[in-house]
Subunit: 221 residues, 2 copies
DNA sequence: GATACCAACTTGGTATCCCAAAATGGTATC
DNA sequence: GATACCATTTTGGGATACCAAGTTGGTATC
């Protein structure tokens, strides 16, 4: 694997894993030393991560994108549009064998499963469902939206009750898709996304003080 | 303006203007000489254009993205999802003054207007309508989709009747938006996008031989 | 004439060097 | 003690040198 990809992936993991806090400054030289690569691949990786929205230019330098409440709400609207379109296509599929795989993925999480895994599976549910639509652009849009939401969703995952609600909503969507009922699937997914947004915004709002204390930049509306 | 942006913009114009044909190979050294920049900004520009889908990796090198029929159809589905979501938001706006600006933009095109301008205005209609929604992600999605469609739409623009149909459909959408009728606006926009896709696919199919003769790579389904 | 093989060239990937501008930190002045 | 000013350092943008892998073209062999 090329140096650029190594740096890109490692840096993405650091950002998504909150090892570098939202709002933190990044210098090309620091990354260079941190990963033992030269500036050429480092800069290529930064350009990539910028298009993913994980970092942003800060004047002449780079900053880990802050968690932006207004942006999170806009993303919810955006992902509702693309996910609903995708799930309608998926509901029309004749071959529904892949649905079982997704359901099994959901069921693989139990009380013993670490939070990190719940978090990943919760995102992959949406991504894989969109992938099934067969539309590459809807798929990418959902994947990118989930990536952008990823850091904020860490907070939601700490709420046991919210997780249970989300999981049962996931199952409800899958049931409608399996039945080929596009309208029901769309309605349930839509409700899930709106509910998910509300839970996220609420817990973010409650935790803002704590986040700032940890040095995380959280931008309000 | 930085060298990178100069190279990026100039190269984008060349690609969108079909000055370099779809499927054509690009070498970093050629671009370097063509624009008098060194490889650092050239590589940065290439990485950017790759994320826009205008160029793609071809093994170890770079290629101007071919015009891909299957991809165009997928983009139509994608943009229908995001544009309809955007126009619903736009229809809910109380301040509709910006609608007049868009309408004036459409009306600025007449028989004396060069085809290039018709093409640009036709794209900007959709982009600006999405921008009015106020949702940055829907806006970017529409803009990116139109960029990806841009080269193929050059072909449609040559058809006088198709242009007239498109323009009257644009006006119909605007009328519904101005009336605040989100459902009608959504339905009309949706029909326009589907019709636009059909016209595009048809004319592309008819012209494929001519395109190949000009050295353009056109990938079928 | 076909083919196997090799040398020269081309190309993208990487490292490194230089530069201008901006940030930093210390110091002199009030 | 606050502040204006200047030297130093740091930083990102750009240019260039080098390398390994892949391509090409020619040549020797059969």
């Amino acid at each position: 694997m090329s140096q650029m990809q190594i740096v890109e992936n490692a840096l993405r993991e650091m950002i998504l894993g909150l090892e570098v806090g939202p709002g933190e400054r990044l210098t090309e030289r620091w990354i260079e030393n941190r990963f033992g690569a030269s500036r050429t691949p480092v800069r290529a990786a930064l350009l990539r991560l910028e298009t993913e929205g994980l970092i942003c230019r800060d004047g002449r330098g780079w900053t880990v994108s802050p968690i932006n409440l207004a942006e999170l709400e806009q993303i919810a609207v955006y992902r509702e549009a693309v996910e609903v379109a995708a799930v309608r296509l998926t509901s029309a599929l004749t071959d529904r064998s892949a649905i079982e795989i997704i359901e099994a993925m959901l069921d693989s999480c139990d009380a013993a499963t670490p939070r990190e895994e719940w978090h990943r599976v919760g995102m992959d549910f949406h991504i894989e469902l969109a992938r099934l639509s067969g539309n590459e652009f809807l798929f990418r849009a959902v994947r990118d939206a989930m990536t952008r939401l990823s850091r904020a969703r860490w907070l939601e995952v700490r709420d046991e009750a919210a997780l249970g609600r989300a999981w049962s909503e996931h199952h409800a969507v899958l049931a409608a898709v399996r039945a080929g009922d596009a309208d029901a699937a769309a309605a349930r997914l839509s409700a899930h996304i709106v509910g998910s947004r509300d839970r996220l915004v609420t817990s973010l709002h409650n935790d803002r003080r704590g986040l700032r204390a940890r040095g995380f930049a959280v931008v309000a509306v």
